[in-house]
Amino acid sequence: MSAPVKAEARSRPAPSRPAGHPRPRRHLFDTKISPYAYISPFFLLFFAFGLFPLAYTAWVSLYDWNLLSSEQTFVGLDNYTELLADEYFWNAAFNTLSIGVLSAVPQLLFALWLAHLLNRPLRAQTFFRVTLLLPNVTSVVAVVVIFSQLFGREFGLINMTLDAFGLGRIDWQAGTATSHAAIATMIIWRWTGYNALIYLAAMQAVPRELYEAATLDGASTFRQLVSITIPMIRPTIIFTVIVSTIGSMQVIAEPMLFGAQVSAGAMATGGADRQFQTLALYLYEQGFRSYEFGYASAAAWVMFLLVVIVVGINFLLVRRMRGSLDS
């Protein structure tokens, strides 16, 4: 805090100081309060568009609140008890976890591997790095529409290939496992490059000497990846694990658009059997198809708690990984 104060004092021309105001008080006012004023835009916006909606959602969740009726009745925790007994909610929770694991784990492993490959002198480095990010800047709608066509039952490229090898066609949308795999593929496609770039940035901060020493000792590149790179970029790995866990708990666009490709009605239910309805999509169905805002708000809060729990578990797991590598 002292540096800006000095700069401030220096920049202020002495003659412009109005007489009569004791300097120490203004000085104090400036140093104590201005910094808060500077950071206030974020917090005011966060309060208006983050905290307030969060609290308001909690309030709404205590009501039987239908968007189409002007009366709202207080029902206490009824929405929550109903929700916890709702098998479709738990079905959506299972789908979310399953799609999350199927997408996040391969995605981060691929990303690590790609970053490792790119973290060495290469020609046209910038080209490769930009290419990595391309899937991420592609619109999610475009990605899902293209992938849904690839996974199409009748004319999809994947089924045609399977057919050509005599393996038979798969109705990707119909099955639980197959639809999860298809959706996970879309997520992996979009986010692997993004994570790879983050890993790459972290890897470049690892001192070269470590690799040189390891090479002299005869360690293979794989060994170097496992014993030097991964331990050195652990904080970054923890960060990506948490971010991608949060991301995968909130997946909605992929299953929604994937469902819309087979039937307009199955768009919000995530397939005819809700086989790929995620939590966020369940929330959408309740809130914006059935207009049950009270119930959807309760679902939002339970979902929030689930995200916190899952992220917490992941955090502990990844931290433990550090422990075992250190020893």
Partner: protein
């Protein structure tokens, strides 16, 4: 004023301005004033799902209302209604004129305080023009408020591919085809015959969803009774429609393609299915999707008698600023002459029975459908309609049933299991 003060003020003010800017999009509608003085420039927005063929009518309206600009917003079907519900609830953002489809109308007429009563602008005298049931659908429960004026009705017919019928050795003339299937049972029989000799890659119909919807539309009572109770479990018509749909699936007649999906759209042109349920408004859709299949499609009577599927109303949400002008626009767009014009340009069929006998409607043919006399076909369909009460959550109930049929189609459940789950799902709809 010292500089330290402005240092404090600048970020605070900029933060406040950011907030105002961020909120600006939503606010500012107020409680809705009455009509503006004549001569003042007014912009009316019209919110629709898809193209209603209103374009030329706007131009005509502007001739008598030179101070009015009209802007049309189009959204996808489900999004349109979701957005409208949200905008009514939050009190801002709705267009001056909003279209509502019949499947949603009763959930909106249940909150008449959110809409301008069109009776206040002289819409009451339009009652005599309308099909009685269409008129009533646009009223609030107690009948005092006119929430919406009807645009079109979706009298049912069956579109079929002449070329595929010929290849399968079936008659292709539309009257002969109509006689093949007086009932849905006969339709299944025809389907079985078709399947025996069908060309490679062609199934008899697209998917069970629209057929089920049509069968429900033909019943005197659908998924709701008059008192807005869901009667899926007790109404024998619903179970019968379900059983027939299951039979069709089990006979292998379905192309397993959901309506309004990309594969469906290509299916029209590619000939993936030989028949599709055709409410009047669907003819425009097919024509749009299968431009290169002109002359291959034709229109016959629907099995099982007259029924309605779809159709819309135009409403004026109260939150708009120009009630008078918006109401005038609604009256104009739904006037008998203009409904006739819309029919001729798009295919959306008027809800004004007096038009049905007019020669220009009776003799109207559509080249795309092998010159089928669509005017005669759909006026017969609309005249014979029996009104059916639609409940507030028609869409949700139909989705639940449609998903059940898809589960049967995908082989994930036996018909019985699927039906049990449908009943359970429907029970949850409040």
């Amino acid at each position: 004023m010292g500089r330290s003060r402005s240092r404090l003020l600048v970020p605070l003010v900029s933060a406040a301005m950011l907030m105002v800017a961020a909120c600006g999009g939503g606010g500012g509608s107020g409680s809705g004033g009455q009509g503006a003085a004549s001569g003042e420039k007014i912009k009316l927005t019209v919110g629709l799902f898809g193209d209603f063929g209103f374009g030329p009518l706007y131009e005509e309206f502007k001739k008598t209302h030179p101070n009015i600009e009209i802007e049309e917003r189009q959204a996808a079907f489900a999004d349109h209604h979701t957005n409208l519900a949200a905008r009514l609830a939050t009190g801002a953002g709705a267009a001056d004129v909003e279209a509502i489809e019949v499947g949603y109308i009763s959930s909106f007429t249940a909150q008449p305080d959110k809409f301008v009563n069109l009776r206040d602008y002289g819409a009451g005298e339009r009652e005599k023009d309308y099909l009685d049931w269409k008129w009533k659908q646009g009223l609030a429960k107690d009948g005092s408020t006119i929430v919406g004026l009807g645009t079109d009705v979706g009298g049912l017919a069956m579109c079929y591919r002449r070329d595929l019928f010929e290849k399968a050795g079936l008659p292709s003339d539309r009257d002969e085809v109509s006689q093949l299937w007086p009932t849905w049972e006969k339709y299944i029989e025809v389907g079985k015959k078709f399947t025996e000799k069908a060309p490679e890659g062609a199934k008899f119909f697209d998917g069970p969803g629209e057929i089920f919807r049509a069968m429900i539309g033909q019943a005197p009572v659908g998924v709701y009774d008059e008192n807005d109770n869901i009667v899926v479990a007790t109404n024998p018509h619903v179970k019968q429609a379900w059983d027939l749909s299951v039979q069709m699936i089990q006979a292998g007649l379905s192309a397993k393609i959901g309506a309004f999906t990309p594969e469906w759209n290509t299916g029209f042109a590619k000939g993936s299915f030989a028949t599709v349920v055709c409410p009047a408004w669907m003819t425009a859709y097919i024509q749009d999707q299968a431009k290169n299949a002109a002359g291959k499609w034709d229109i016959a009577a629907i099995p099982g008698g007259a029924g309605n599927s779809g159709g819309s109303h135009l409403t004026v949400p109260k939150q708009g600023k120009h009630h008078k002008e918006a109401a005038e626009l609604v009256m104009f767009l739904t006037s008998p002459e203009n409904q006739a014009k819309v029919f001729k340009s798009t295919g959306n069929f008027p809800s004004i029975p007096a038009l049905y006998d007019q020669p220009d409607i009776q003799d109207f043919k559509k080249e795309f459908f092998n010159n089928a006399p669509v005017g005669k076909i759909f006026s017969d369909a609309a005249r014979n309609l029996k009104p059916q009460h639609l409940g507030p959550k028609e869409g949700d109930v139909r989705t639940a049933i449609g998903n059940g049929l898809t589960r049967v189609e995908q082989g994930k459940q036996s018909p019985d299991e699927a039906w049990q789950q449908v009943l359970k799902d429907v029970e949850k709809i409040r």
